[in-house]
Amino acid sequence: MDPRDVGQWLETNNIRWVKTEGISIDGLVIGKHISREKFESALPLGNAIADLVMGSDLGGTPYLAWWDDWRRDAIGDFHQQPDLNTLVVAPDRSRTANVLCNTVNLNGEPVPACPRSTLQRVVQQLGELGYTAKAAFEIEAMLFSQSPASARACKYRNLTAMGHPSHLGYLHYNSRHQLAYIDAVIERLDALNISVEGWHDEAGPGQFEINLDPADPLTACDHVVRLKQVLREVALEQGHCVTTMAKPNEEYGNGLHVHHSLSRDGEPVFYAADGSSLSETSRHWIGGMMATLPAATSMLCPTINSFRRMVGFAAAPTVASWAEDNKSTALRVLSRAPKSARIENRVAGGDANPYLVLAAVLAGGIAGLRHRIEAPPALHVSGWGLPDGWPHLPTTITKAADAFAHDTMLREVLGESFCSYWENTRRWEWLMFHTTGGDAEATNVTQWELDRYFEIV
C-alpha cells in the first residue's frame, strides 16, 4: 500500500486503533495499540518502542552479559516501521487494524536482531543470485480443554487433550473434538487473507496440524506469526489453551516443518522427473543446506525444550540427512512433480521463529550455490536409530550454539551482527535454565520449560 493511501484506507474501514505487530528474536509478537492519528503521524518511521524488547529473554530478563553495537546506550527507543502491505482490518475487534512491523533504529535502519529484516536480507541475496523462493509452513499445535488460567494453576500438567489420546493421527473422530475451535480459527484466518490448504488431527494429544498455502518467504512467515496469534486468541475466547511448544509432554512434539521451492526464470529448480537426476543447482542447494544443518539447528531448535523433540521414531529427524520422500530425514526432497517440486525441512520445532527458520534454510541453500557444495549421498535407510558415526544433529542448545559459532557459511549470508547476537542469546538461555531452576538431569519436560514456553512460544 502506498503511504499516501493509508489515510483513505483507515477512513474507509472506520479504523480507530492500529495494533502494531513487531517480532522479537524468539518469535513473540510485540507492539502497541496506537490511535489512528498517532499511527498516521508516525509514518514512515513508525511508533517508538523500548529497545529492551530486542534485549530481553523469554522470561523478561534483560540480556546483560554482552552489548551489541546496535543497542541503545541507556535503554532508549527503537521504532516499529509498519509494512503497509500487511495492514489488515482486525477480524476480532471493531474499528481496529493490524500491521506487521520491522524493528528499526532512529534513522530507520533495520536492527540486526529484527527477524523479519533478517529474512528480508536473505531473500534479497537470493534474488541477486537470480532465484525466487516460495515457502509453505506446517504448523502443529496441541489443544487442551482447560483455560490458560486453569492450565497455569495446574502447572501445565495433566491437561485434558481435546480428543482421544491415541497416537493415530488423521483421526476424524479427534478432529470432531476440535471442530468448533478450528472452524473459528479458519474463519479468522480467512478474514486476515491467510489461505489454509488443509488441516488434520495429528498424533499427539489434542494435536492438530494446519497447512498454509505457499507464498513468498516473507508472506509465508507473516502468515505463521498471525496464525499463531489467532490460535491463542481463539483458544482464549473459547476457554481453552493451545501450545506450539516443541515438547509440552512426553508424547509426540510440535514441529514447524517448512517446504520451499526455488525457481529461476519461472522454471522450478528442484524438478527431476525421475526423482534422482537432480540438477546441479539442486545438488548445490541441498549440499549447502546439509553443510550448514548442524549450525542451522540452533535457529531451528531455539530453546532448551526444542531438543526433547529431537528423538528417533517420533517424527523429528536426528541426523543431518536428505533423501527423496523419506520422512525420517532432515531434508525431504519431493522432486517428481514439476509444479510442486520442493524440499521440506523437518528439523524446526513448533517453538521456532518462522522468519529465522526460513532465513536459516535459505541461507544454507545460498551458501551451497555460492560455494558450489556438492550434496552428500542421499540416505536410503531409516534416519532413526542410527549408530554413532552417522552425522547426528546437535542434541542440546549448547551443542547447537557451538556448531553455530563454528560455522562460517551461514554467517556470510546472515551477517556478523545477527549471528553474534543469536549465539549469545542461546548461551544465555542455557545459563538461565541451569541457574534459575531448570533440572539438568531431567529426562522429561521440566517445570521450568513449561512455565517459560508453554503459553508464549
Binding site: L64, A65, D439, A440, E441
Partner: protein
C-alpha cells in the same frame, strides 16, 4: 570431555557441562594453583558431590589420584555429599552447608572443604587478573577504577587517564566479583556493589564476570 592440566593434576569436565560443573572445575583450578592444595588433590581418591539446597543444581567431583573429573548430578557412589544454598554461598556469613558422609571419609571431606574455598590473593591482585584480558575487548571500558569501601582506597586498572567505569564495594563484595564467586551485574542489581558507568560497559564487564565464574 574437556581437559585442563594444572600442574600434576588433570581436571576434566563432562561433555556438554552444566554451569555448576564448570564453576566447580574453575574453583578446583584456582585451588590447584596452590602447591599444597594441588599436592593434596593429586593424592586424593573418592567422590564428593555438591548439591544445591534451593534448586536442582548438582555436580560430583571424582578424585582419582591425579585426575579429577567433574560431572553433573549427585553420583550414586558419592562418598561425601555437601548440600548448600548456592545463592548464599558467597555471603559474608553463609549458612553452614549440610555435609553427609564425613564419618567414613574425614580426609576427603576436609580436602573438599579446602579446595572448594580456594585462598584469594587479595582484591587488588584478583582484580588485576580479572581485568587482564578485559581491555583487549574494544567494547569494554578503557579504564576502570575500583574503590574498596573498607578503607576508602582506590585502584585503577587499564588506562588511568580514561576511566570509563567505577566500581565501589566492600572488600568482601569486590573479592566475590573478581574471584568469580558472584556476577557483577547481579551484584549491582542486588545492591551489593555500586557502579558509575554505562550499560554497555556494565554488560561487557558482566560478561567477563560470568566467564571468570565459569572458568572460560
Amino acid at each position: 570431555m574437556s581437559v585442563d592440566r594444572s600442574g600434576p593434576l588433570r581436571i576434566e569436565v563432562e561433555d556438554d557441562p552444566t554451569p555448576i560443573v564448570l564453576i566447580l572445575a574453575a574453583t578446583l583450578r584456582r585451588s590447584a594453583r596452590q602447591p599444597k592444595l594441588a599436592a593434596a588433590m593429586a593424592k586424593a581418591k573418592g567422590n564428593v558431590a555438591m548439591k544445591s539446597s534451593v534448586d536442582p543444581q548438582a555436580a560430583t567431583i571424582r578424585f582419582a589420584r591425579g585426575t579429577i573429573t567433574v560431572v553433573r548430578g549427585v553420583a550414586s557412589d558419592a562418598h561425601v555429599i555437601i548440600e548448600a544454598d548456592v545463592n548464599k554461598m558467597a555471603d559474608e556469613n553463609p549458612p553452614k552447608p549440610k555435609v553427609s558422609g564425613i564419618a567414613g571419609h574425614v580426609r576427603l571431606a576436609l580436602l573438599a572443604s579446602k579446595v572448594l574455598e580456594p585462598p584469594n590473593a587479595g582484591w587488588r591482585n584478583e582484580a588485576t587478573a580479572f581485568f587482564a584480558p578485559t581491555f583487549a575487548n574494544p567494547k569494554a571500558p578503557r579504564g576502570v577504577s575500583v574503590t574498596c569501601l573498607n578503607d576508602a582506597s582506590t585502584q585503577t586498572f587499564g588506562d588511568p587517564d580514561t576511566i570509563e567505569y567505577e566500581i565501589h564495594g566492600t572488600e568482601h563484595a569486590l573479592l566475590n566479583v573478581f574471584c568469580g564467586n558472584t556476577v557483577l551485574g547481579q551484584d549491582l542489581l542486588d545492591g551489593k556493589i555500586r557502579a558509575v558507568g554505562s550499560l554497555p560497559h556494565l554488560a561487557e564487564l558482566t560478561g567477563r564476570s560470568i566467564a571468570v565464574m565459569l572458568g572460560a
